[in-house]
Subunit: 210 residues, 2 copies
């Protein structure tokens, strides 16, 4: 199909498609002449993927580029894929933080993780992200104790078991599933949490206010 | 303290503090003269709260304003607080969506919710958010079945039980806890999920790749 048809099929303006092509987010079509190219179903799928990652996943185009690069060049084991996904999805500030942390004393998160017995890479950006998020709860006076963190971690382990159990066995499918699942299921979980809160608040105890 | 001291105490530039004052995110200090005012601990706390909501919660200043308005004017029951929190935290697009949905046929999410038996308001923006997020998973070929959604919902119920059980009984504390908890614990849960994925991937089964 021509680029105008690709635009109709996906609902994305031609100018935006050309921008995706220039930025390398979309592979070039098969050249038909100096000014036109032929696009196929794989282009439709890729455009829809870029939109899903930006619109629902809330990723910047730069992050989408890093994510697509990992999806397009697979061949790594599941742990390595998760590590690359984590690095692609968190901003640079977390990477800088973690590389400097080797000489620092153990943080509250590091000792909590040690007590929990989770097998994770201490330099993973998610560790730094957890430190920042926990500190922000402290600042806001939310009183997120280690005991609460442990209960949230129990629930997170259940979620991770679902995540990992749905990953296909072929390496290229696995990369795709892990990265897209991490980005696109996050908003699903956010919405489920809010709905579950309503249900729990309505059923747990009668309202105490008049 | 003077505004320069408030700036030193919080690490936020004076120009930014003045912007917060103009936008109503920060209450005015006690006027000492026509050009200077006195700020107290409650101002330090409020500035730190605004930073936590923007930096860690990722909220826009407009959304922070709506959240602070709810925190500052409490007096509602827990279900109402959750509803207001949901409306403050999701963008306008979801509100428009949900108000128009009355005449539409039941969506897959609506029938899934009915089957699940969750007591939620059908017009809640989280319902529209779940629809959009589920559709994006479909578009990306993630294959999020109703069965998977149910398993994620089970884990979300555990999280919501922790959320609701930590809400204090006094109404103004409850509003604060619900809204801040929803915003600030989300990044905690995101980081926990990524770390739990690593742990589960490492312990669930030996790597099958060479």
């Amino acid at each position: 199909m021509k680029i105008s048809e690709l635009s109709r099929e996906t609902g994305v303006p031609v100018a935006t498609l050309k921008f995706y092509l220039r930025e390398g987010l979309l592979q070039p079509g098969k050249a038909l002449s100096r000014t036109s190219a032929d696009y196929g179903d794989e282009h439709v799928e890729r455009v829809r993927l870029v939109r899903a990652l930006t619109d629902v996943g809330g990723l910047s185009l730069a992050t989408v580029g890093r994510v697509l690069a990992v999806i397009d060049e697979p061949g790594q084991g599941p742990v390595e894929v998760l590590r690359v996904a984590s690095r692609s999805l968190y901003g640079e500030e977390y990477l800088d933080d973690s590389s400097a942390r080797d000489e620092e004393p153990a943080s509250p998160v590091a000792s909590w993780l040690a007590g929990r017995g989770w097998l994770v890479t201490p330099q993973d950006p998610a560790v730094a992200a957890l430190e920042k998020a926990w500190a922000a709860c402290e600042t806001a006076g939310l009183g997120l104790t280690e005991e609460h963190l442990d209960r949230y971690a129990d629930a997170s382990e259940h979620i991770a078991q679902i995540d990992v159990s749905t990953v296909p066995r072929d390496p290229s499918g696995a990369v795709r599933q892990v990265i897209l699942g991490t980005v696109l299921i996050e908003p699903v979980l956010g919405a489920l949490r809010r709905l579950a809160q309503q249900h729990v608040a309505r059923t747990m105890r009668p309202p105490t206010s008049p």
